[in-house]
Symmetry: C2
Subunit: 311 residues, 2 copies
Amino acid sequence: MSPRESQKKATVCEVGPRDGLQMAKGIMPTEVKSRWIAAIAAAGVPEIEVGSFVPAKLVPQMADTDAIVRHAVTIPGLTVVALAPNLRGAQNAHAAGTHRVSIPVSVSEGHSRANLNRSPSEQVAEVARIVAWVRSQPRKMEVEAACSTAFGCSIDGVVPVRNVVTIAAGLAEAGVDEIALADTVGYAHPSQIHEVVRAVRAAVGEKLQGLHLHDTMGLGLANALAGLEEGIRNFDAALAGLGGCPFAPGASGNIVTEDLVFMLESMGFATGIDLPALIAARDLLREGLPDEPLHGQVPKAGIPKTFRAAA
Amino acid sequence: MSPRESQKKATVCEVGPRDGLQMAKGIMPTEVKSRWIAAIAAAGVPEIEVGSFVPAKLVPQMADTDAIVRHAVTIPGLTVVALAPNLRGAQNAHAAGTHRVSIPVSVSEGHSRANLNRSPSEQVAEVARIVAWVRSQPRKMEVEAACSTAFGCSIDGVVPVRNVVTIAAGLAEAGVDEIALADTVGYAHPSQIHEVVRAVRAAVGEKLQGLHLHDTMGLGLANALAGLEEGIRNFDAALAGLGGCPFAPGASGNIVTEDLVFMLESMGFATGIDLPALIAARDLLREGLPDEPLHGQVPKAGIPKTFRAAA
């Protein structure tokens, strides 16, 4: 392997404790969740989205997010991410010690109204308020905005690329540190990933950092590959593809962390993650949510004898 | 869409009736199998690998291949493919009216010995005998050779690219019409697809036509995407990802035809296949093999409202 090859790196952010658990039928006990997060971090996962600062009445699975964040920030080296849909949530995230807050901004009107009860442009304005407030605080916290439904919407259907660009440009203007594109409902295909990533990067440059992909149609890793080819190096994924999809019974959720790490490492992208240890962390997921189906091909088939982790 | 875009095409060969059923626990009744093949053809699938000319004692699921081929060749417009491991099998395939015979040639010594009881070079010599015999017949039959274990072997482990090139070059020399590369055990990753396809094409040029991929590690469609990027336009796939993997319980089999077609059509590659009709053909698979697990994300999630078939 050439020296240049040996420097290829990719960053995986585990979102199972947030996006996965939020969709799960059961509620994982706080104590198991904390051990599960610790096991994922111990496997070398550098970033974990551990919860959402949303009303417990709306999302009971996230009711313990404050306690979970306060525990997670004690794990050495881990970047602790939490979702917050508004200023109030971001303030709570900051108070708990969150390192990076992720703000969802739906590109499609229908999803924005249904999920946030605001129009997309109203949510961009909320992000601007969040950035201003965070910058006024003595303790730093990164602000990431995730453009939801950037590749299609189960309510509005096709989402025009120009709308994604408009929202992303508004978020860059609002001063966020990073922008991610989310295939919230799993409608994306590889050509679309190329097209949308290029268009958004033309508008906001290197602020575009990450892709958040779902495997609803089975194209999750092909879409991740298209993102890699466009220079994207940050990917969200969920252990065991946890979560499913509320509008598509039987469909899987986020792309599977284990399979993504297998692909990245096989291709020479170092993730810092120990694949056997990551797979072992499924045991805690099984303990905390015994009725939840666990996805993932590499854990089922076993790591093949030809596998070599990236240097 | 530009005129050039509208001419993008890809060919899907359904291999479920051969590779899928061969791995299945149950035996599909001949009558259901014939109706199943007819339904797949009616959905627009242009090529179907309908069976194997192998001893019924070894592979009882394939005992009816002669009858199945004789029925399948009556379906207008369908290219009927059958596997044959040796000259005797190829002669039987020819007698039944098969349009294209596919000969497996393992690149790895261990797989070749276990599967064919011959070394790779002995099997290349057998292919030369098959080609000579076929060319001597009044009725034409295409001869395709599939390089098994081209991306790794569950017995021998890593398969050097130079070995794949050597076998492929020998097959071109033997005069086959087409060469395919098979990820028999599902160990391939996208960078490897790029590397091996380029190396083999440098040796045999446009004789390299197809990819036969398995989804053992969840990378099947990402590998197909890498193949597309290398100019590969022929892909094997199995309805419902039928088949599994004998060495990896719980792992899935061939890449899922439904999901592959969804990806290709979404990306603007016309396949000629009607996706809803293809998905409906799962009913006959369920009827013929009620205990077999059916894979595939698009059938579970439903075709999204943003989907448009390629022109």
